[in-house]
């Protein structure tokens, strides 16, 4: 298979669509939670929802049946729509905070990762680079990349892994020390793992991936954590008496379900890009099982397999 554009690359991976779903869910969750804040703050307005029900003579949760009187519903909607503008600040503010936190994570995380893990440039070690430059350039060419990404080394990791990250303009591929050692011991395994990371660069999904994780983390930081804290322990007094209330439990469960949906969407994005990269490695190597030499004990933790990003997850030492 040549380095040209394989048929597979013309097939949509669905990653962008899944990412769109994730963003929509994150926005909906933030909108919902910001709306709840808006309905209880400032404190003088927290009975506004209830007063609309009284004015319209429509008590939403008092019976299990839906009131058939359409005039009551019209009066209720009119009353509630008057509350929308005063609460708009909460809604817009919540979304703005979500975007800001997500942007900060997206921009800052790759830099933080390089700094924290001290991922050094491979070409800063002349002896090592002399050994790797040729094989890596060959793989970059096989992946059809116009230019070499920034190769870095995680010298503290003895795993046979790698990771592609960074931005669309400046993609970074970091190789574990264990993977570098494979160059002499298992060239096919080395090629497969490096090609997998280069496939992410070729697909252009590095940016999508970081955006996905940034959105997910922003939802946790902006929506879930503050909401749970203020719902369960509003006075921050480590008094969890609120947890006994069915209303609190209902609210917490609803938010948790929304966040769970965001998590599932995040996993779907990450999983689809991994599968797509694996498929490209198969195309580029012409081997239907390119990781066979790196397969250790299969991970038998069933629940973890359900939510796993990688289908081929295995743990231990190579066979």
């Amino acid at each position: 298979v040549g380095p040209g554009r394989p048929e597979l690359l013309r097939t949509p991976s669905g990653t962008t669509l899944r990412f769109g779903t994730l963003v929509a869910l994150a926005v909906a969750t933030t909108w919902y939670v910001a709306g709840v804040y808006g309905s209880i703050w400032p404190p003088g307005t927290f009975l506004d929802d209830a007063s609309c029900q009284v004015r319209a003579n429509l008590y939403l949760t008092s019976t299990a049946s839906v009131d058939p009187d359409e005039t009551k519903w019209t009066a209720y909607r009119d009353c509630m729509s008057g509350l929308f503008v005063p609460r708009l600040g909460w809604l817009v503010g919540g979304l703005l905070l979500l975007v800001l936190v997500a942007a900060a994570v997206y921009v800052g995380w790759p830099r933080w990762r390089i700094r924290r893990s001290r991922l050094e440039l491979l070409d800063s070690y002349p002896a090592l680079w002399a050994k790797l430059e040729g094989p890596l350039d060959e793989l970059v060419e096989r992946a059809g990349l116009a230019r070499r990404p920034e190769f870095r080394l995680d010298a503290t990791s003895t795993r046979a892994g790698g990771v592609a990250f960074g931005t669309r303009r400046r993609p970074v591929v970091c190789l574990d020390a264990g993977l570098v050692a494979l160059l002499d011991r298992d060239r096919a395994g080395f090629d497969a793992v490096v090609l997998h990371e280069l496939a992410h660069v070729r697909n252009g999904d590095v940016a999508t991936t970081y955006a996905t994780l940034a959105v997910w983390r922003a939802v946790l930081a902006v929506v879930l954590l503050p909401y749970l804290v203020f719902t369960v322990d509003p006075l921050l007094g480590f008094d969890f008496a609120n947890l006994g209330s069915p209303v609190t439990v209902g609210v917490v469960v609803r938010v948790l379900l929304l966040v769970l949906l965001v998590y599932v969407a995040r996993t779907a994005v990450l999983r689809s890009r991994e599968r797509y990269a694996d498929a490209l490695v198969v195309v580029w190597t012409g081997d239907t099982d390119p990781y066979r030499t790196l397969r250790a004990e299969p991970d038998r933790r069933r629940v973890l397999r359900w939510i796993a990003i990688h289908r081929r997850g295995s743990r231990g030492s190579p066979r």
């Binding site: 990762r113 893990s117 001290r118 050094e120 070690y125 002896a127 090592l128 002399a130 050994k131 080394l153 995680d154 010298a155 503290t156 990791s157 003895t158 795993r159 046979a160 892994g161 790698g162 990771v163 592609a164 990250f165 020390a177 264990g178 993977l179 570098v180 050692a181 494979l182 002499d184 011991r185 793992v193 997998h196 990371e197 991936t209 994780l213 990450l270 991994e274 990781y291 790196l294 397969r295 250790a296 991970d299 796993a308 990003i309 990688h310 289908r311 081929r312 997850g313 295995s314 743990r315 231990g316 030492s317 190579p318």
Partner: protein, 146 residues
């Protein structure tokens, strides 16, 4: 000779002897080890693994083991040096500081260090036969250098 010099030089000799294919990798690994030995010797999964290649497979690298063993030997020698100083000799310590002045290390001491190296290598998860080889290589290195 500083601890850093002793550990890196000794470990490099062991790697050159037993796993010459790792020599190019030795420099970055030894630098990382000197910064944070526990991190290099630990095989815990690193943060950010969710974005990695998904292969949680550990490759047997000799460099971290050799560095860990050399550190154990150095610490043992320092302990011994302390004892010698108490005894009024301090010759082994002088040997580490000024190689030209001090007497050669005895075969018994070399055997003791070899046994220590084997034990430490096994603690670091190395198979028995390779641990023996590490012990032999370390003994040969120390015999040459000290």
């Amino acid at each position: 000779m500083t601890e850093r010099d002793f550990v890196v030089d000794t470990a490099r000799e062991v790697v050159a002897d037993l796993a010459p294919d790792e020599l190019a990798l030795f420099e970055p690994v030894s630098r990382a080890y000197l910064r944070d030995p526990k991190k290099v010797l630990s095989d815990r999964e690193r943060p950010g693994a969710v974005l990695g290649s998904g292969l949680d497979v550990v490759i047997a690298l000799l460099s971290p083991v050799a560095l860990g063993v050399a550190t154990a030997v150095y610490e043992h020698l320092l302990d011994k040096t302390g004892e010698k100083i108490v005894e009024g000799g301090g010759r082994l310590f002088k040997r580490l500081r000024r190689p030209r002045d001090a007497p050669r290390i005895t075969p018994d001491q070399l055997d003791e260090l070899r046994a220590l190296a084997i034990e430490r290598a096994k603690e670091l998860g190395v198979a028995d036969d390779l641990a023996e080889k590490v012990g032999d290589a370390l003994r040969a290195t120390l015999e040459r250098e000290l």
